[in-house]
Symmetry: C2
Subunit: 247 residues, 2 copies
């Protein structure tokens, strides 16, 4: 039986002072945002392609491209640059022609203009009244700063992978976040829509909050429809998380 | 003749996308805030001492303690820990007795509760409508996150010395800030009440904004009453800076 909505460890939760958020999928709806950007670009430039498929393949390239860095097969490379490399390859395989380097830069920049899910602005605002908030993301800091500004997100700190030159789920990212916040791992809760991210955070002693994002991957989604372990807290979205945390 | 209020390099200014702020003195009034905290602590505990003098000596210990780290005579140590070390020495020399380790921690934490100067909240709010904003400070990130929350400062990113394990005016701090923001140095302006900080930033290619804080050091202040070079812009305070930048 899977955990349903609720606080599974109230004693642990009472120690928490900072909430750090997985960002792509958990905070922002990358898929709809990117499809809209690519559709608009295609119309503007008279290009046609299966943009949703391109977006899905772009995202599918994310984990393997990071894993090459994590295994040391490629030197440290920020996510913006990985996105750019993947896009070059996809544009060729989709036979989209006539794009300049500036076009590819512009399209890669679409990852800086991702819309928050509808519950996020108000949910974050409520959570900010009691907790320190920030992303803990595999994105680079400069991408996250632009997402923060674009979405009006009330983040107190920006924790991006380039601060440690490590990608999640490497332990250095979770430990590094706690160290920069001046908090013990038990005082920090990772909020994520992905069970594997939460497992890695729990292994480092952090509290864990799950919210499902069942539409993150569109019709292709196969996982993370529900919490797979009794995380510290399980909520339906950020507004609901704020309610469960009584803020 | 000293530069007076104005924009000295409009062409350079038009390139700027992010404003980074020296924090102690420029953004927050550390002296009045700390004196108030120590006065309250003394009253509560029935201790008397020349608290303003202790605060002035505490701040005077700042530069020498950092310089020991900068010269490699002491391994990397965050500012909170340097403040704590200096306080232990001062408490002994002021013959203040009966303080526990928890008391010293609490007093060191007063550096997390410094009030912004009166022009800061509204000035920052206006500047945030056009620019990315953040501290670029010798404080550690966790101290700055707490200052941000305490003062309600609309910072988009937190740039503290522990990100690079380097203290200003080492070039790595100014360059590191630009790199994390994904901007060229010419796209970043340091705003500071201290001419030497601006000189170091200019040497790294950043734009420079001076605002005087003539009351920063109280009656002991001897310097930085005015801009000593034609910085990119010279304003009377952050509200005035926003006006000169037309936001």
């Amino acid at each position: 039986m899977k955990p349903i909505r609720g606080v599974y460890n109230p004693a642990a939760l009472s120690q928490v002072k900072a909430l750090v958020f997985d960002t792509f999928g958990t905070v922002v709806d990358w898929r709809s945002s990117l499809i809209a950007e690519l559709n608009a670009f295609g119309r503007r430039r008279g290009l046609s392609a299966d943009w949703p498929l391109l977006v899905d393949e772009w995202r599918a390239a994310y984990r393997p491209s990071m894993d090459r860095v994590r295994r040391g097969e490629q030197p440290w490379t920020i996510l913006d640059a990985l996105h750019r490399q993947s896009l070059e390859r996809l544009v060729a395989s989709f036979r989209i022609e006539g794009l300049s380097a500036a076009d590819l830069d512009e399209l890669t920049g679409a990852w800086h203009r991702l819309h928050p899910w509808p519950d996020v602005p108000e949910g974050m605002r409520r959570l900010a009244t009691r907790y320190f908030l920030g992303p803990l993301s595999n994105a680079n800091v400069s991408l996250l700063v632009r997402l923060r500004k674009f979405g009006g997100l009330p983040w107190d700190v920006i924790l991006g992978a380039d601060l440690w030159q490590r990608y999640k789920p490497d332990p250095e990212t979770y430990q590094g976040a706690c160290r920069l916040l001046g908090l013990r791992p038990a005082e920090v809760m990772l909020v994520a829509a992905h069970n594997d991210d939460l497992r890695a955070a729990r292994a480092q002693g952090l509290c864990t909050g799950f919210i499902p994002r069942s539409a993150e991957y569109g019709p292709r989604q196969t996982r993370d429809f529900e919490a797979e372990e009794p995380w510290t807290v399980v909520a339906s979205d950020l507004q609901d998380l704020a309610s469960l945390l009584s803020v």
